[in-house]
Amino acid sequence: MAITSPSERIWWKQPIARIELIWIIVAFIWGLIMFFMMIYWHGAGEQNLSNEAYKITPVRFAEKAQTMIDEYTVRQENGFPVVRPPPGSDVYLIARLWQWWPILELEKDQSYRLHLSSMDWQHGFSLQPVNINIQVHPGYDMVVTVKPDQAGEYGVVCNEFCGIGHHNMVGKIYVVE
């Protein structure tokens, strides 16, 4: 029994039943398939993180974002600037207690280098209803190249707990034709 010492003293020389062996092999191969699937997707799939990231101070990141905001703001909404940067450009989204700043307006089927960083604590970039979720750290500038493929209005929810105003931290991204 499992609660007593093995009845055969030399248990490691006992043969393994065929059915167990088959299952081990099946499970092992399945593991390899799942492993190589991730590698395969880096080549064949369209949803991958480049893992491009830089150390940055919150002050420096805020400056870069402000430069973008000054240059490309097209209107105001609820006190947020709505920024429409040119396709292909570097786009900055500030995460801070408790805002995603500014509102971005992107063009459908164009690529943007989206930079994410936090001014204070950790935050979670959760693009809804697409459901893309990326962790945002203070001190790190994470670059993700995004290519919105559907026009519409998207919410950016914070999904990393960031204090008492966490549930009020909502941002917005517009995707236009």
């Binding site: 010492s5 369209e46 979670g124």
Partner: protein, 565 residues
Amino acid sequence: MAKTAEFRTCPTTGLKVDLTAERLIKANAVVAVVFLAIGGLFGLLVALTRWPAVHFLPADWFYLALTAHGFDVLLVWIIFFEMAVLYFASAVLLGSRLAGPKFAWAGFVLMLVGALITNVAVLRGQSSVMFTSYVPMMAEPSFYLGIILFAVGALIGVFVFFGTLVVAKQEKTYEGSIPLVTFGALTAAIIAVFTIASGAIILIPTLLWSLGFISYIDPLLYKTIWWGMGHSSQQINVAAHVAVWYAIAAMVFGAKPLSEKVSRMAFLMYILFLQLASAHHLLVEPGMSSEWKIFNTSYAMYLAVLGSMVHGMTVPGSIEAAQRARGLTKGMFEWLRKAPWSNPAFAGMFMSLVFFGFIGGISGVVMGTEQINLIMHNTIYVPGHFHGTVVAGTTLAFMSITYLLVPLIFRRELMFKKLAQWQPYVFGIGVAGISMFMMGAGTLGVARRQWDMTFADAQLPFDYPSAAFLMMGLNGMAAVMAAVGGLMFIVVVVGSVFFGRKLGIDEKPSYPEVPPQASESLSHYGSAEKLHIPGTVMLVSIFFIAFVLYYFVNWKYLSEVWPLS
């Protein structure tokens, strides 16, 4: 040498039981159950708050309750119970005296004091930082101090376990190799050393930081090492509850492992590879390469998953073989149909096995896939997954073995037998509901650790789809059911332990039923030539098909979101 240990002989199993070890098992188990009750209550409050129609707690209390819930059940309940499991698997199963009982008591006291300190810190309201306490969000120093003391106490307990193995070996209290269950406990203990070391490496600097002696802790570094503790501690649970599955299969059915070699290799896979799982929490973080993520998140090509899949066959397989040897050979499933479903130890154990595999296991692997994590990270899918592993898996397994420990170790007759009989079903199905509904809500984007899914006070509006609200409502109802199941467990166990009829010194408990001398009559099945377990093969095949389908469905979901590179 210290004064000679005192023993009694167990009338059911014939094992020699060190009375000090027995007292320690009792103390750890009782404290564990108390914290399960406290942490479970916090959990119920959290679930009621996330039920949109109820929205029970105000925001500050919600985040406080969620912090307390995570700490009390994920760490305190489980680790205290694991201490009981370690002492049981070493001193009791090996018929040995416990090494250094004074150290064991010191460890127990440290754990208790630590748990209380952290709970007080949380209840004071300035440490609602969640169980993970990600920097740079800061808690009161005593929050970290309590966890550190708790961990040191646990480490002492682990070393008492190791010491007991050495004592038993030297004093030749057993023949041959240690039992499989002890081997599983050893696996858990080895992982625990790694876990606690990781915890110390990160929490001691964090304590100093909160005291003002250190000015900066890198948030990414913190997360990487913290999850070396946080995730590995869940792997202690896996190793421990798998050991508990084997123990219950042996105690209820007299089941013998199909192959000692295979089962032990599967445990070894845990020791070698489970610690890589810190990466599961870093798949969408800046600063890690994809090579690092892929290797670590897959536990080096899924070798630890392989271990779990092997246990997933050998545990039910050993039960089937034992049942067939007893004559339940009709068709594919007579052995399972005629299993003792009214014995809560078995019913809970079998549900734990099924839910851990189908709900917790599959979702964990899928969510831990580098790219698929993008559509799940930090959504409520994540707690959905780990309620499938830690609650439906570990907690249910621990509850199940408690039904055997009460008569065998506490020497009390189990009270409220009807309540006990239904308890695993109410709790198990409730928890399965919690897991599934949270996963459902998560795929619809609902954030975890979030007080108001309507965003009523946000500067910019956003609405989740109405199906998400439905899922969270159902989750609330399932949580109420699980809470009722939890309460039933507490009533039965606390009632029996304090007010149950004391069993006589030579009296064998009549409930739950343990077959007499099952091991004798069944000691020769299961050899390679004779093994015949078609029912298990069918169950495992269903599992495998579900796994493959669910895996690729999620790749399909992923392929539909915005292209990212």
